[in-house]
């Protein structure tokens, strides 16, 4: 141990944590794989919560004028369902993939800033817990001067202004109580988390690529992660500022969005959607990336038009910043602005179409292996196309003024975010299951999951198109019997239960296969990218020797040659290659330095909820506690000693 390391030790109170098992190993881990797994499980837990909220909503809407929920409860449920699914489910599920896969796909040992990565995770967890603590501590009520026939129960004491928090309805006058403060501050914490990981991923991709991994040799999933990181970095500051304005309006009497003080409620919508539309692409691009990995592997063909797919992804991300007002065609924006935003919305259909046709080009003429990941990927294309096409109808501004705020929109974005993003995520969960756990999932249960989800999904969201066009508005607690919308609403509610059953099957498969599934080989799918050149499950050190990359789809080219017709021929040494890779991967020949675990990301992150509570309850004590945790976390982090953790040091004894 060198002198200066010894010296640094004196400055710290804590020793660096050393647990490799048990709860402390998870709390202090900076291993991108462990962090990815934690993201996955926690996000799945929130998926169950958000799904439960959806079930409750659908029971209320199963028949006209139902009284299963009160208005306050219904409004809280749909607000929490939307907020949960966006910020606590799809974003972190994508983050789970980013974390686990990104370093593996570019041949790195970890992300650029491992402790920062842990900080992102813990900020996200504490943000989510803070938001959900509203059910215990929060309060909601009628607008000031309004009356309620009954007290609001715990289910209704959650944020109730919608995930979009439109002003001035979400202001203190019209949404009194603390619930909307939980929403604004909760999203603020979650935003910090995403922002931190965005910079981490950008740095990782730019700086940590293996030798020979040029940008245009990166797997498409890595490319899409890159695009998402930029989207996050540019869009989150907007919502962060807007949310601070909301908090200031609610807590300190400013009037950024309130007419009575010269503020503008429509400005909130502009700011929200200036973030909110890029957010849509933050949610869907990771799924694009996942599907672009799975289709070639299961078609035994390279991705059709790799460059076009990459550029289309960035095109979508870029244009995604210029279409926000299509969420506001019912507002009083001028006809010129309406035409402009209508046209920009049409334009975004072009790169999206390029992607879809290139995916079709990928499977066309291939040798399709219809395993569960492939089924979900194909299902993704089929469902996402529907969402994309209904999206084009929104660019027809006059038509959109009929459709906006109806169930037609609900149908549209569920086809994009569930039929698109979630199908993609499920495809990815099955695809990389063997790499993560070293076991194979059960194929029959996987296919059952797919078909049930496909049926349940279409039963749920298909009729919503029709319901919306026939006049069912969104965020509607009840609808009148005379609207004649009862029958299809009942069908929709039945569909949700089918989805619920499919999710249960998925969970059974996951839990069972993880414990009792057959051992997974290193390369079960005859895959193309380098994360499959390491043993399953991934060793702590990822790559025992840093890989060197010579091609796009490098692993494939190491296994296959092409004959004169352009058909792949497996190299003679391919089987030996796999055996060698596996034994090399398990037995590193040299010292491997891994980033050290740390308590401080957890401690630092734990301070933020207290600062949130301090603002809501005007408590100096809580503010002090929060600040103290931040300071301990920050200083501890800065002064933490470096302790080399050496693995594979066997031979040196």
């Amino acid at each position: 141990m060198s002198e200066d390391i010894k010296e640094k030790r004196f400055l710290t109170v804590f020793k660096r944590p050393s647990s490799t098992e048990g709860i402390w190993s998870w709390i202090t881990t900076v291993d991108h794989k462990k962090i990815g797994i934690m993201y996955g499980y926690a996000a799945f837990f929130f998926l169950l919560l958000g799904g439960l909220e959806a079930l409750i909503l659908r029971i209320q809407l199963a028949k006209p004028d139902n009284d299963f929920l009160s208005a306050a409860e219904y409004n809280a449920m749909f607000t929490m369902h939307g907020t949960t699914m966006v910020f606590l489910v799809i974003m972190p599920l994508s983050a789970a993939f980013f974390n686990y896969l990104l370093p593996l796909q570019i041949g790195a040992r970890d992300v650029a800033f491992p402790r920062l990565n842990a900080l992102s995770y813990w900020l996200w967890i504490f943000g989510g817990l803070f938001l959900y603590s509203t059910f215990i501590f929060g309060s909601a009520g009628a607008p000031q001067g309004g009356y309620l026939a009954e007290e609001i129960g715990w289910l209704g004491n959650a944020p109730n202004g919608g995930w979009f928090g439109y002003q001035p309805n979400a202001s203190f006058k019209y949404s009194p109580g603390t619930a909307m403060d939980y929403w604004a501050l909760g999203l603020q914490i979650l935003g910090v988390s995403s922002l931190v990981s965005a910079f981490n991923f950008i740095t990782t991709i730019l700086n940590m690529r293996a030798k020979g991994m040029r940008l245009m040799r990166m797997p498409v999933f890595t490319w899409m992660t890159f695009a998402v990181a930029f989207l996050l970095a540019f869009s989150l500051p907007i919502i962060a500022i807007a949310l601070f304005f909301v908090t200031f309006d609610r807590q300190f009497g400013t009037t950024f969005f309130l007419t009575e003080g010269g503020g503008d409620p429509v400005l909130w919508q502009h700011l929200f959607w200036l973030f909110g539309h890029p957010e849509v692409y933050i949610l869907i691009l990771p799924a694009f990336g996942i599907v672009s990995e799975i289709l070639p592997t299961f078609s035994k063909k390279p991705l059709f038009g790799y460059a076009a797919i990459v550029f289309a992804g960035f095109g979508i991300a870029f244009i995604g910043f210029g279409v926000w007002a299509h969420h506001m065609f019912a507002s009083a924006i001028s006809p010129v602005a309406q035409a402009g935003f209508g046209l920009s919305t049409m334009v975004i259909a072009v790169p999206t179409g390029v992607k879809i046709f290139n995916w079709l080009g990928t499977i066309w003429g291939g040798k399709l292996n219809l395993k569960t990941p492939m089924l979900f990927a194909l299902g993704f294309i089929a469902m996402f196309v529907i969402g994309g096409l209904s999206g084009v109808t929104h660019s027809i501004v006059p038509a959109d003024t009929q459709q906006t705020d109806t169930y037609y929109i609900v149908a549209h974005f569920h086809y994009v975010l569930f039929g698109g993003a979630m199908f993609g995520i499920f495809a990815g969960l099955y695809y990389w299951f063997p790499k993560v756990w070293g076991k194979m999932y059960n194929e029959k249960l996987g296919q059952l999951h797919f078909w049930l989800m496909m049926i349940g999904f279409n039963l749920t969201f298909g009729p919503m198109h029709w319901l919306g066009l026939k006049g069912q508005i969104r965020r509607t607690w009840v609808y009148a019997e005379e609207t004649n919308l009862g029958f299809w609403n009942m069908v929709v509610t039945i569909g949700v239960f089918v989805i619920a059953v499919s999710i249960i099957i998925f969970m059974i498969n996951w839990i069972y296969s993880k414990r009792k599934g057959p051992e997974a080989p290193m390369d079960p799918w005859d895959a193309r990218t380098i994360e499959w050149t390491i043993p399953s499950p991934t060793p702590v050190w990822n790559f025992s020797t840093p890989p060197e990359i010579e091609n796009l789809d490098d692993f494939w080219h190491r296994k296959y040659d092409e004959d004169e017709e352009g058909r792949p021929v497996r190299k003679d040494m391919a089987n030996q290659l796999l055996i060698d890779l596996e034994s090399d991967g398990l037995n590193p020949k040299e010292h491997i330095e891994l980033p050290n675990p740390s308590y401080f990301p957890f401690i630092l992150a734990s301070g933020l909820p207290f600062l949130g509570y301090a603002i809501i309850y005007r408590s100096l004590a809580l503010a002090g506690l929060g600040l103290l945790l931040l300071l301990i976390g920050g200083f501890g982090w800065a002064l933490e000693p470096i302790e080399e953790e050496e693995i594979g040091d066997v031979e040196d004894g």
């Binding site: 409004n75 084009v392 792949p568």
Partner: protein
């Protein structure tokens, strides 16, 4: 596995047919049953886009299904040719969508400007959004009413709209698309009904607890009926004969606090507005409370007994009226034709 897949495909086909053939009959908020030129312009554009979308949908799903059937891995199937892309094809499916979109863009932009134009000789009505009801004012006639917007048939109407509290959105699907009502800002929407009839309206923007019950009706009348309606609305409210139950009801109205928020023209003279609907001619309206319940003694007595029971969050308090008072009040309100 093969049969399984086939039968599921069949099931999907059946589901598809069910979705597209089963229509929802007589939906009063149907955006696909236009009853005027504005809604018809939108409807035409929608169907144009819809059929193009259906064509692309069919194309993509067919290619997908054909690919799955043709290129499924079977024993003995040779390894596929490694095709990395095809610039010509990729250009083709970049350019064709652009052309299709351009062909939709032209009528879209034209419709945007057409719909925004202020029609000549339009009748002006002010629409004011309140949590959770719509107020209608006719500046040319000096009329203030609520929940039911009465318009002449075959006449362009120009709505000038704003909100008194949060953001609302006025939507009469059979006559035009939606438009926000924003506090501190004026917005405009044109309506035009070809024929006499009754059209449902609904607040389209989430506006708090009772958003779903913020409804309204638009009634278009032929010109004679409309003029009669105007003349009647311009009159002060009728006074009940002394000694009747209605007269007792009037006393309930005057003494229980109703006048704090409601106006009955000619009975309780006040300058300016009140925060609740003008009741001078409430008996001529067949729906009340943001068109969320019918104007009949049964529904009305429930409402008067505890308004928040029907519309959570409402600004109308429970005035703790006795049953006799409610009966008298309903009798009185029934005379306000």
């Amino acid at each position: 596995m093969k049969n399984y897949f086939r039968s599921t495909k069949r099931l999907k086909l059946i589901l598809f047919l069910v979705f597209f053939t089963a229509c929802i009959e007589n939906a009063p908020l149907d955006s696909l049953s236009p009853e005027g030129p504005y809604a018809r312009t939108i409807d035409d554009l929608f169907w144009l886009t819809f059929w193009i979308a259906v064509a692309i949908f069919v194309l993509v799903q067919t290619v997908l299904l054909v690919a799955v059937v043709l290129f499924r891995d079977k024993p003995g199937k040779p390894e596929p040719k490694q095709i990395h892309g095809n610039v010509k094809l990729e250009l083709l499916w970049t350019v064709i969508p652009i052309l299709i979109l351009a062909s939709i863009a032209v009528p879209t932009v034209r419709a945007i400007f057409d719909l925004a134009k202020e029609p000549a000789d339009a009748m002006k009505v002010e629409v004011i959004g309140h949590q959770w009801w719509f107020e209608f004012k006719y500046p040319d006639y000096g009329i203030t009413t609520a929940n039911i917007l009465v318009i002449p048939e075959d006449t362009p109407i120009r709505l000038e709209m704003w909100s008194n509290d949060v953001m609302h959105n006025f939507w009469v699907p059979k006559l035009n698309g939606k438009r926000y009502l924003v506090p501190g800002q004026l917005t405009y929407l044109n309506l035009y009904a070809d024929n006499a009839g009754e059209y449902w309206a609904q607040c389209g923007e989430y506006c708090g607890l009772s958003h779903s019950k913020m409804r309204a009706r638009v009634i278009s009348l032929n010109n004679g009926d409309f003029n009669d309606w105007v003349k009647n609305e311009q009159k002060d409210a009728l006074r009940p004969n002394e000694g009747t139950l209605a007269a007792e009801g009037e006393q309930v109205y005057l003494n229980s606090g109703c006048t704090q928020c409601h106006i009955v023209n000619g009975v309780w003279d006040v300058q300016g507005d009140r925060i609740a609907p003008n009741l001078s001619h409430v008996a001529s309206r067949h729906v009340l409370g943001g068109a969320s319940f019918k104007n009949n003694p049964e529904d009305l007595s429930k409402w008067l007994a505890n308004p928040a029971e029907i519309k959570p969050g409402t600004f109308m308090p429970n005035l703790e009226l006795t049953e006799d008072e409610i009966v008298a009040l309903i009798e009185y309100l029934g005379t306000l034709k």
